[in-house]
Symmetry: C2
Amino acid sequence: MTKQAPTLVLDEEPPHPAEHKLLSRTVADWLAERIIMGEEAPGARLTELDVARRAGVSRSPVREALRILEGEGLVDIAPRYGAHVAHIGIADVEELYECRMLLEPVCMRLAVVALTDGDIDELEDVRRRMESASTSPRLFLSLNVQYFRTLALHCPNDTLRELVELTWKKAVRYWSIFARIPHYAEVSIMQHTTLHDAVRAGDGAAAERADRLILERALHEIVATFEHVA
Amino acid sequence: MTKQAPTLVLDEEPPHPAEHKLLSRTVADWLAERIIMGEEAPGARLTELDVARRAGVSRSPVREALRILEGEGLVDIAPRYGAHVAHIGIADVEELYECRMLLEPVCMRLAVVALTDGDIDELEDVRRRMESASTSPRLFLSLNVQYFRTLALHCPNDTLRELVELTWKKAVRYWSIFARIPHYAEVSIMQHTTLHDAVRAGDGAAAERADRLILERALHEIVATFEHVA
DNA sequence: GCGGAACGTTCTGTATACAACACACAGCAC
DNA sequence: GTGCTGTGTGTTGTATACAGAACGTTCCGC
């Protein structure tokens, strides 16, 4: 219902827009970054006390951070045992993309037909920055997500949007692989053009098709690269 | 939570199957039950200390329980403000069912083709108990979920299964409405027959169609009843 | 009477303390 | 040597203590 600007926070805003970042969220982001970048090995045990010491905080926010990360699929938690960095496997990627293909194209279709001219301008801007960031994989991926996130914000089905965003949070786990795909940005930009045209035309069906194609290609690329790497 | 089937990684699994129920989980279940049964009014504020006192525990497990319930969509949490019982609206139901229709039928299709004879026997048993429970809405709904859950357990795509289970956790919020639908069980059983036939025949495509029909009808019924009640 | 600021209450967020449990290893019996 | 048991260490789960923020109230100025 209430649209949020460029912040990535989900929803919610009773009294104050709550930009006051909680420690637990900060720790979660910090640890997520390390996991995504591969600085925490898959399968490695994450002791609350150890994480707390390294982050320079007490166990309380760390505990909450680990639960958050569990929800985002970055760690596994076993009761009375502790947290592990979640394993990364090619089967998981395929599963995740199968799910994304079910949800995301529909989300895009619904969002595109709800866009205003101002929204399209905003997307144009992100798109431009993507084009000029094709040499930095990390930045490109970040802008890519921002494009989709901005678009999804206009999906009238909030439940669907939240599910899609959940899949994105899980997908972020494989960025390290994307970053290794040669010429990923250039090819991605090309395919992205089809989606962007649909956005400008307000053509929901075309956007749905375009997103499905993008996902199919991304899965194909990542599987090939994964096999090449591992 | 995770199925943990054929992981080839060494991955030491939780030493004990962890039936040891944590206090936080107990509180979460207790509070969820109260919310579902309408004993906690939608929109009502849930103060950590108040819940803790009523549950007879300290704030720590309550805090975790509220986060769990937030993930399941039963409460909303705003930073530095607290938790509210999530509102229940007809728009949310429609959104949720739109999502379920995208995910669940595919999940059922994949599961049905993976069933063994033993699995089918187990489902037959649940089915029989459903037939004899048509007079108790609560029990019927519970068995209904058990049927689908048992089925979904065999979906080879764990990520999809988890997403589907997430939508179920959210859907449980509307049981109080289902329970008011006249003759719900009888009609439901009838439609359920189509699905069950597909299960026995191992016909994935038929199961997918059947589940889609079931969801469409359920949405229709719940919308009608909601308008009648509210 | 009305607006606004200072105050006080209440709650969350974080830190710390304590208890229960799990695992590893050493020592003993056989 | 093998298997069991008791102890020790480390970690999680829960309770409690403390600090700061948000909200309501009251009191003052006008």
